[in-house]
């Protein structure tokens, strides 16, 4: 655990059809840090993750992964790194989706082994070693030959976490990883994320699980209407006097 900065976002802006969805977002994430992003639906949390993971082009600002500039605006125009550089930069992060997005025609094993074999060029043996290790740690060893469609939502989400981890990313993003799950299944996924936090995996987690965010995060960001309304340690945020934040939290802790 160093003080190395893995991710820097400066003045990120994004509009859809003239409506500003992200207004001047700035944040940094250091190695080993767990950052949670909370906020009402429509506040731009997913858009922030999508811009950070290069799924969406930002309209302004700077995005830097571990010193490598992925995108920046020069005199008003966005400039993205070359295709080749972006390919390298993509290997730095992983993304876990709300609805898993596993490949249904692949077995669990192939879901986890194919991506690093294709994009990192590691051997099949190495890919299987990684996958078996991850499946063991996530309690999915007996599911390695199953197809995603035959698994519960919680199992699918754990597989998708394993798939992301097999790429050995520096940072893992989660976009509401438990929102599609029943309470019992939510618990099993949160347990996995807690464990990753205890192993000092660097993570940015968009979540509505307030109690979980409080326990697991080093820092929490509260977003509203495309901007960061409040930011701080869990203690700071949960005792904040910010009226909007209190109102938002009230809905979840009731």
């Amino acid at each position: 655990m160093g003080q190395e900065t893995l991710l820097t976002i400066r003045n990120m802006r994004k509009s859809f059809d003239g409506t500003e969805v992200l207004k001047d977002i700035s944040l940094t994430v250091k190695r080993g840090e767990v950052l949670s992003v909370i906020g009402p639906s429509g506040s731009g949390k997913s858009t922030l993750l999508r811009c950070a993971t290069l799924l969406e082009r930002m309209d302004g600002g700077t995005l830097i992964y571990h010193g490598d500039v992925a995108a920046t605006d020069e005199s008003g125009a966005m400039v993205y790194a070359s295709k080749k550089d972006l390919k390298m930069i993509r290997r730095r992060f992983g993304l876990v989706f709300q609805n898993f997005n596993l490949f249904p025609h692949y077995s669990v094993m192939k879901n986890i082994t194919e991506p690093p074999m294709l994009t990192e060029g590691i051997s099949k043996e190495e890919a299987y070693r990684r996958a078996e290790d991850l499946l063991g740690r996530l309690g999915l060893t007996d599911k390695k030959d199953a197809y995603p469609g035959s698994l519960s939502g919680g199992q699918q989400q754990r597989v998708s976490i394993a798939r992301a981890l097999a790429m050995q990313p520096d940072i893992l993003f989660f976009d509401e990883p438990t929102s599609a799950l029943d309470p019992e299944l939510t618990a099993e996924v949160l347990k996995v994320i807690r464990r990753l936090a205890s192993e000092h995996m660097t993570m940015i987690i968009v979540t509505h699980e307030m109690q979980f965010a409080r326990e697991v995060s080093d820092r929490i960001i509260f977003m509203e209407q495309g901007g960061i309304q409040a930011e701080g340690t869990p203690e700071e945020l949960f005792s904040s006097e910010n009226a909007r934040l209190r109102e938002f939290m009230g809905k979840f802790t009731a």
Partner: protein
């Protein structure tokens, strides 16, 4: 008589197989054209598809066969069979293209996004993630078209191609009997029975997931 019909049957099967061989991949290409972001390409393919689907296949056969002579003033020896294959392939490619397009457009965006974040190239995403799933979803529609194709091969009679139906008609006229046509009917039925069986096997094979 059965020997003649047998020869005709071989020709019909040949038309069927060659048409599938060319139109299935060609249809994918047409589907790409139809979904192209290039306006000109997508408009042209759209017009092509609408003509292929909006005019009789019988007419298309005649046009393809006679066009070299009437338009370019050249007559090509032995062009009859190739003309039939071209007309069928180009026509069926249009139908297959629309089926593929429906299948491709029905794929959830999340599949593309997951692949993108994992570092798959566009080609890897299409051929490894999207296409295999599309094939599974469109297979029933492909089966339907394939069964229609078996029956459509009989349209080759307009170019007097000696396939099953043409021969059956000739023999029936010569012998003033409906027998040969009945035999032809049985042949098409059995042919389609086999096609349906084979396609069902394919569908079963793809049933391993979801």
């Amino acid at each position: 008589m059965l020997k003649q019909l047998g020869n005709g049957m071989a020709v019909s099967v040949g038309i069927f197989l060659l048409t599938l061989l060319f139109s299935l991949p060609l249809g994918l290409l047409v589907a790409f054209g139809r979904m192209s972001r290039n306006r000109i390409v997508s408009s042209l393919t759209k017009i092509y598809i609408s003509i292929m689907r909006g005019t009789p296949l019988m007419l298309q056969l005649i046009v393809v066969y006679f066009a070299p002579y009437y338009v370019f003033g050249v007559s090509i020896g032995g062009y009859r069979f190739p003309a039939i294959i071209i007309a069928f392939s180009v026509n069926y490619a249009a139908y297959f293209a629309e089926i593929y397009r429906g299948g491709i457009e029905s794929m959830p965006k999340g599949q593309y996004e997951a692949a993108e974040v994992l570092g798959y190239s566009r080609a890897q995403t299409f051929f490894r993630i999207i296409l295999p799933q599309v094939i599974k979803t469109v297979l029933p529609s492909i089966t339907n078209e394939t069964i229609t194709l078996v029956k459509d091969t009989s349209l080759s009679f307009v170019l007097a191609q000696a396939e099953m139906f043409t021969i059956a008609k000739q023999i029936a006229a010569k012998e003033a009997s409906i027998g040969p046509l009945m035999v032809a009917g049985i042949f098409y039925y059995v042919f389609n029975f086999i096609v349906a069986f084979v396609m069902e096997r394919f569908e079963k094979k793809l049933d391993y997931y979801r």
